[in-house]
């Protein structure tokens, strides 16, 4: 929709240009969230796309995803040998309720910064222990684990003027095996729960619960837990929530079902 109060969109060419950011002036990435609801508080936008960040950089220690990389580009990255976790990219893009036309514009950074419980890039980032590079408004760089980034339903650690620069996926995680489950109130509906399991080469297991809880919940184990252990730990989570995409009690129950499916899938695969 038209953002009628926005009087200017400034293309950023360098980090200096980001100083324009602050109250009333927000970063513009794909725009698929910004232009989808009235934003009477905004008077200006600073366009991040003009910074020309390379979308995907593969290195020896993993993958660096620019915050401005689109979901479409991420989903189309050709398979990298040894990256057993790579199918998760496409799976997580598929958890976005928006159509493939939204993938064409929506960015990985924009999704993390929107910080919806149903943020599929949040699921990807926390499941793969991503490290996020944040450009603080005062010029400092800060690297923090993805698990600390989202703090609640549409809240995160960024202050006005801060920018998410990139998302680094470490090689170790990319070499893990993953299993993914999503459920919604309809076949392709907005996620009610997105769960990702990761079994590392060293036997360590992680289950990321998103979509069903106000912020991502991570369960970590040195080795694959038993069904009962996992169930008990899922039951102990306290941040299930209710919105039009599902009631809290249902989210909790289906997360237990999906969590167990993931556990067995990875167990079977580790045996095979």
């Amino acid at each position: 929709m038209d953002l009628n109060t926005v009087a200017s969109i400034t293309p950023a060419r360098s980090r200096d240009d980001l100083r324009l950011l602050g109250p009333g002036v927000a970063p513009l990435a794909g725009g698929s969230e910004l232009f989808a609801s009235p934003r009477p508080e905004l008077v200006g936008l600073v366009d991040l796309l003009s910074l020309g960040w390379p979308a995907l950089v593969i290195s020896d220690d993993g993958l660096e995803i620019a915050a401005t990389c689109t979901l479409a580009a991420l989903s189309r990255l050709p398979a990298v040998p040894g990256w057993t976790a790579q199918p998760l990219f496409l799976e997580c893009c598929g958890a976005l309720f928006g159509s493939f036309k939204i993938w064409n514009v929506a960015t990985v950074g924009g999704n993390l910064c929107t910080s919806l419980p149903a943020g599929p890039m949040t699921a990807l980032a926390v499941a793969l222990d991503a490290e996020l590079l944040v450009w603080r408004r005062d010029g400092q760089d800060e690297v923090l684990p993805a698990s600390e980034f989202v703090t609640g339903n549409m809240t995160n650690v960024l202050e006005p003027g801060d920018v998410l620069r990139s998302i680094h996926l470490p090689l170790a995680a990319l070499r893990a095996r993953t299993a993914y489950r999503k459920i919604a109130l309809s076949p392709l509906g907005r996620s009610g729960a997105v769960l990702v399991g990761r079994l590392d080469p060293d036997g360590g297991f992680l289950l990321a619960v998103t979509g069903a809880t106000v912020r991502p919940e991570l369960l970590r184990y040195p080795s694959l837990p038993t069904a009962a252990e996992l169930r008990a730990d899922l039951d102990a989570i306290g941040s299930w929530f209710t919105d039009p995409h599902g009631a809290a009690d249902w989210r909790r129950a289906v997360s237990a079902v999906l969590g167990e499916e993931i556990r067995t899938e990875l167990e079977d695969r580790s045996v095979a």
């Binding site: 038209d2 009628n4 200017s8 159509s99």
Partner: protein
Amino acid sequence: MKLSINGETVDAVAAPGQSLRTFLRDRAHFEVKKGCDTGDCGACSVLLDGVPVHSCLYPAGRAEGAAVTTVAGLGRDGDLSPLQQRFVDAAGFQCGFCTPGMIVTASTLDADELDALPRMLSGNLCRCTGYRAIEDAVRGTHRRVGEPREPDPATSRAAAARACGRVGTSHPAPASTRIVSGQEPYTLDIAVPGLLHLAVLASPHAHARITRIDTRAAAALPGVHAVLTHVDSPATLYSSARHESRLDDPDDSLVLDDVVRFRGQRVAAVVADTVAIAEQACALIAVDYDELPAVFDPRAALAPGAALVHGDKDAATSRLADPRRNLVAEMHGEHGDLAAGLAEATTVVTGTWQTQRVAHVQLETHATIGWIEDGRLVLRTATQVPFLVHKEICRIFALEPAKVRVFAARVGGGFGGKQEILTEDIVTLAVLTTGRPVQYEFTRTDEMTISPVRHPFEVTVTLGATQDGRLTALGLEVLSDTGAYGNHGPGVMYHGCSESVSLYAVPHKRVDARCVYTNNPPSGAFRGYGLGQVIFGIESALDELARRLGISPFDLRRLNSIGPTDPLVVTEVEGADLIIGSYGLDQCLDLAEAALTRGNGVEAPAGPQWRVGAGMASAMIATMPPRGHFSQASIRLDPAGTYTLGIGTVEFGNGTTTVHAQIAATALNTTADRVHIRQSDTDVADYDTGAYGSAGITVAGKAVLAAATALIEQLQLTAAARTGLPAESWTPEPTGLRSGSVFLPLTELAGATGLEAKGAEDGAVRSLAFNVHAFRVAVDTQTGEVRILQSIQAADAGVVMNPEQCRGQIEGGVAQAIGTSLYEEIVLDGAGTVTTRVLRSYHVPQLADVPVTEIYFASTTDSLGPYGAKSMSESTYNPVAPALANAVRDAIGVRPFELPMSRDRIWRLLQL
């Protein structure tokens, strides 16, 4: 910035926060539609250098240097792309508002992506078709009704289809080629010089009196032309609901009131150069409110001491049952003796069912453009009832009828939602105040928060039967929440309790129904008009009874449904105005049962958590509204030898325009392409009550037939006068009249001025149509997921006028009903605030959600309808929810009593 649009270079400035959609529409690219403005519906889809995007979300400035392609760039009328042609051939649209975006998106799909079509089209919503026809158009798998569905060999069926055009053939909609190329104008698809825009200040309170309203700052803002408040409002009370008789609805509304009764109600309006300025000015209006006690629960609203929503109204003047008890209308009646009937019964079933608020989500939102032309007020508006809007606008503003013209262009979907005055009243006030053209367009959020929703009903049903399955008693209690205004409240309540009850021959019946005010947003007319809500309860209760008695649910209906000669009884025997003009219920039951028994080979997913079940339900509906529905048509033979039909009814995807062309073509023995139609305009027809109550064929169609018949008589007389040969000896042919070997060309008969005849229908007698739906489902007991394995609808539509369109109406009704049954709910917070404010939080069925429904037609010929036809638009929706609930009950052993049967609700049922 420079860019190219459909190959044409454009150099223009985009406003900073402007979306590409607005930029394109501002340049008269009206083929780019606005359905939601939030990236959910896809109506705005365009290609940017070949990549599809939702243009409503795309910052216009970013299109600099790009090549933009809209649907019009893919092909034009006369030079359609193969994909566009397939949408014509497959009838891949009804209202057509989704079509441009659908075609643009589908145009980018390769073979692999076609295999994932439900996912690829997840961002393109269609509210009308139920998607089967769209899928066929995209994949090229279209087959006519009854033919197997498989890939089409290259032969185009378009030519064959166009050559026909008689009643009973699948003639394509006259607007087809314009719709698939984006060239058919809808309400706002017009550039009006000097157009001003209107925005509204919404009430933050559920019930409050405005004690002070200061508009000075708003009025002083440059670009503001008027600020309107209750001080400027006419004092005439009216209802937003429109019916043939204005006495059907309570007069309880003002254009602007000093008391607001629901959150979001308009408090003031600003007319300004742009929407942006109007919105900015709204924020500058200072209002003091005196908050009043409010009530949100319909039961609490009836309790003594409850806050009174319209306590200030006079019962007689406003036509309210009892404003001191929030009672809008009530109905109590008994046929026989319910207690005696229950005493006779060996088995008694009782239960209380609850339906939810449902939004119409017609893809085109409500909108009106008004202006003054030659001293007359002209309203171009998205309405189902232009003539009724005309009458009421004249009444509210004390305008002479001749000084007002109301018309509708093609309307982008209705479903009952446009049988209301929601935008026309305030636009009239704005135009009369400023003298300038003014536009007011609802946002999608307006549609979900202030546009009336389907009435939520609490329905208690008690059934008694003897061991052999014969019903002895039927008791019905209904409580309907009409919200803060009574529009359609009484009608929906009465109609809800009519054909749902009279379908069954039961010696003892009792109905107690009440319709009450609350401070919730208003409810209004919705496809089925109350019947669906009550049918959900009655048909669920019948299913329970069949279980208890160990009788098949089909047999229970066979035993107890009215037969072709039975009297129709709700609580009294219906008058002679309602007849069974043809009876196909028996066939529908047989067809649906046979299809269910046959199965369709689709198996339930593997795993012990899946349970399978089947269920069915029946529905009956009158073929038009009661107490008269009028239409007057004219047909003119033009000097050029073609015909022009003038008819008042509106086309909004119901397909009546197509059928009217077919009726005229058949009666005049010509081809449909020789009949030019002018419609939905108080200037082109004498009168038409409107496109509601499924009256498009049964009333307007009859008027067309009468006019055509009268014109032939005139032509015969003219021919006789010219030749001396007897009038009866002349028969019409496409280009002339023939009597033996003598031929008179139409061009000659028409003379210099043409010949015109008129025809009218008064809808004094109504017939009944029947629908039976059956489902086989699988339910995941771990997650509550309901998967539809087989969906069947058998329909008695009388003689089917246009099989393709009739199938489309059924498929669309079923899809909308599946939305109601499984997904959709306008949620309130208990204090009058809607929490589902965008489509993303209100799940309208996507392609992935809608199974292909097997459709069967009973073979009957109605004694009343034109060419033996009956209506088939609302009725298709009504049996679906109970059929699905009954199937779920069969699968999981627990009965759902509440809609929607969302996964979380079904899961919870299983925890009990």
